[in-house]
């Protein structure tokens, strides 16, 4: 250790001392710049008033079997469909391994509430809103949803079956407050 702190020539010591000062100055400067930049980055994150609207409650009591409603959540449409027993059966009969985004229907609904399917209504291809919510809408080859933009078909579990959509319609985080009331987000 003595060799490194007291080298032979005074010049070498000067140099390492200066290097040390440069490095510590640069390090303090880097920390300062980062500390100054962070508020600017965080400023662009969702504000408190936006986060306050991040969860909503939905009353399902008026939705009859076979009907669907669309609710707005975080600026996006959320599809809530009251599935008929036939639709549930169709969703469960599929061989999961043949799907492009394999997921069993049971993983996409909540236990004991099999009739309720809640998905974010945005096509996973390029962000259009698929058709299939209104009774007159085309529902595609698999009875779920059909995206008119580029022809993706979703089944009665909201899974991508045909067309360019790479993944299933995502299921948002939600929970049942009662049998007819859910909180999304």
């Amino acid at each position: 250790m003595a060799d490194t702190t007291h080298p032979e020539g005074g010049h070498g010591e000067q140099k390492s001392r200066r290097d040390f000062l440069y490095l510590t100055t640069a390090a303090v400067g880097a920390v300062g710049v980062a500390a100054f930049i962070w508020p600017f980055i965080d400023y662009m994150n969702p504000a408190a008033d936006v986060l306050a609207l991040a969860s909503i409650q939905v009353d399902l009591s008026a939705v009859e079997a076979g009907q669907a409603i669309t609710v707005m959540w975080r600026g996006k449409p959320v599809f809530v469909r009251h599935r008929t027993p036939g639709e549930i059966e169709a969703a469960r009969a599929v061989d999961v391994d043949t799907l492009k985004d394999p997921q069993p229907d049971s993983a996409r609904v909540q236990e004991g509430h099999d009739q309720w399917l809640v998905v974010v209504g945005i096509c996973t291809h390029l962000g259009c809103v698929p058709l299939g919510q209104k009774p007159a809408d085309p529902r595609g080859d698999y009875g779920g949803w059909f995206c008119p933009c580029h022809g993706s078909h979703y089944d009665t579990s909201g899974r991508a079956r045909l067309g360019p959509a790479p993944t299933n319609l995502p299921v948002p985080e939600y929970s049942f407050m009662s049998d007819t009331r859910i909180t999304i987000g």
């Binding site: 508020p39 965080d42 400023y43 662009m44 504000a47 008033d49």
Partner: protein, 425 residues
């Protein structure tokens, strides 16, 4: 060297490739690396660089504030409050910006008085000075426009009063005011255009600052002695000598600024501006922000509407003529034994005017404002031309080095310095 390429002394191939096509590295090295600056700068020469930093911080925080601000009479006040309460670090952004306006004026006023004291406006730096006055005018406009945006009571009534100044113009005054407002009172069209212009003008300032710096680098900087550098011994390369001095000054200045932002964010503001704008009620005591108070005192000192407005604008416009109003050949006030007293009296006068501007326009304050106004214009229009003619200045040193470096054989000089006699231009 291929045909049509600039010469570059950089060895790094990438830098050299760029530099020989767009000599930006060579230019930066010339203007901020080896740029020869007089070696006797004091800390008053920090304020140009400080102003540059404040301008950039104002632009950056302003752009971020604009991301959450809504320029509409129904939403402006609430959007500012949302920035304060809901947006992440919105309070910080707004307090930096709000106090930044005050910091900008502190820095610029010191910068202007520096120029005034050391005669930086004199030949050959007249245009440099006039560009600076243009920047000051743009700053005043920008600060006023920005003050209107939160749409509080002071915003609204500041907009009303200042735009009404133009109604003093004979014949077309009323039409001009209607045109400025885009309606028959300060309302949504006014707020919208004020926002648009408040966003625009800082970039215009950046443009004029560029010209200001370009002009500075032609004539070179003035210095506390007010004499031109005569040889290389009188100057230092800008880097590292003045980059480090500017950095140190910046550190001290940022602490001062942060003190306001974190510990007294509303000290320089007015509480009435936290009341939403109400076109039906004028606050009992309206005053401008502190940096406009001297001008406000001048406006109120005159009992005539048109003449008051003329003096208000005249107080800035007179600065354009400074290079020709000052008849003294000596730049630095250090060597002007008579003018020195008038200069410091002028500084006191500006402070007194500022104080009067904050007080009600009656009794002693009105009398003081009037005396202050007379001295303000008397200083520029009478004292400056006359003192320069009659004053006998103290002898100037032969060079910047002469007063500090001992003459040959005088004292310990670095090796080599004594080897050759001092160059005389």
């Amino acid at each position: 060297m291929a045909q049509g390429l600039a010469e570059s002394h950089y060895s790094n191939p990438t830098i050299r490739w760029i530099d020989s096509r767009l000599p930006i590295f060579t230019m930066m090295h010339k203007e901020y690396g080896e740029y020869p600056a007089p070696k006797n700068f004091n800390y008053f020469w920090n304020f140009g660089a400080l102003a540059m930093v404040v301008l950039l911080v104002m632009i950056v925080t302003g752009i971020f504030l604009a991301m959450h601000y809504t320029a509409h009479v129904d939403h402006a006040f609430n959007s500012v409050e949302a920035i304060m309460r809901d947006v992440n670090y919105g309070w910080l952004m707004r307090y930096i910006h709000m106090n930044g306006a005050s910091m900008f004026f502190i820095v610029i006023y010191i910068h202007v008085f520096r120029g005034l004291y050391y005669g930086s406006y004199k030949q050959p730096r007249e245009l440099l000075w006039m560009l600076g006055v243009v920047i000051l005018l743009l700053m005043i406009m920008t600060a006023f426009l920005g003050y209107v945006l939160p749409w509080g009571q002071m915003s609204f009534w500041a907009a009303t009063v200042i735009t009404n100044l133009f109604s003093a113009i004979p014949l077309v005054g009323e039409s001009i005011v209607t045109w400025l407002w885009g309606g028959f009172s300060v309302d949504n069209p006014t707020l919208n255009r004020f926002f648009a212009l408040h966003y625009l003008l800082p970039f215009v300032i950046v443009g004029v600052v560029f010209l200001h710096v370009a002009a500075l680098h032609i004539t070179g900087s003035n210095n506390p002695l007010g004499i031109e550098p005569k040889s290389k011994r009188d100057t230092l390369p800008f880097h590292p000598y003045y980059t480090i001095k500017d950095m140190f000054g910046l550190g001290v200045f940022l602490i001062f600024w942060a003190m306001f932002v974190f510990f007294a964010p509303n000290y320089l503001g007015h509480p009435d501006n936290y009341i939403p704008a109400d076109p039906l009620v004028t606050p009992p005591h309206i005053v401008p922000e502190w940096y406009f108070l001297p001008f406000y005192a001048i406006l109120r000192a005159v009992p005539d509407k048109l003449f008051g407005v003329i003096l208000l604008f005249g107080a800035i416009v007179v600065l354009f003529f400074l290079p020709w109003l000052d008849t003294s050949k000596v730049r630095s006030t250090r060597f002007r034994p008579v003018y020195k007293w008038f200069f410091w009296l002028f500084v006191v006068d500006c402070v007194v005017l500022g104080y009067c501007g904050a007080m009600p326009a009656e009794g002693i304050w009105l009398v003081l404002s009037q005396l202050g106004t007379i001295y303000y214009f008397g200083f520029f229009l009478v004292i400056m031309p006359l003192v320069g003619k009659f004053e006998r200045p103290r002898p100037l040193p032969a060079s910047i080095s002469e007063p500090v470096l001992p003459q040959s054989g005088g004292g310990p000089l670095p090796a080599g310095a004594t080897a050759k006699p001092m160059e005389k231009a």
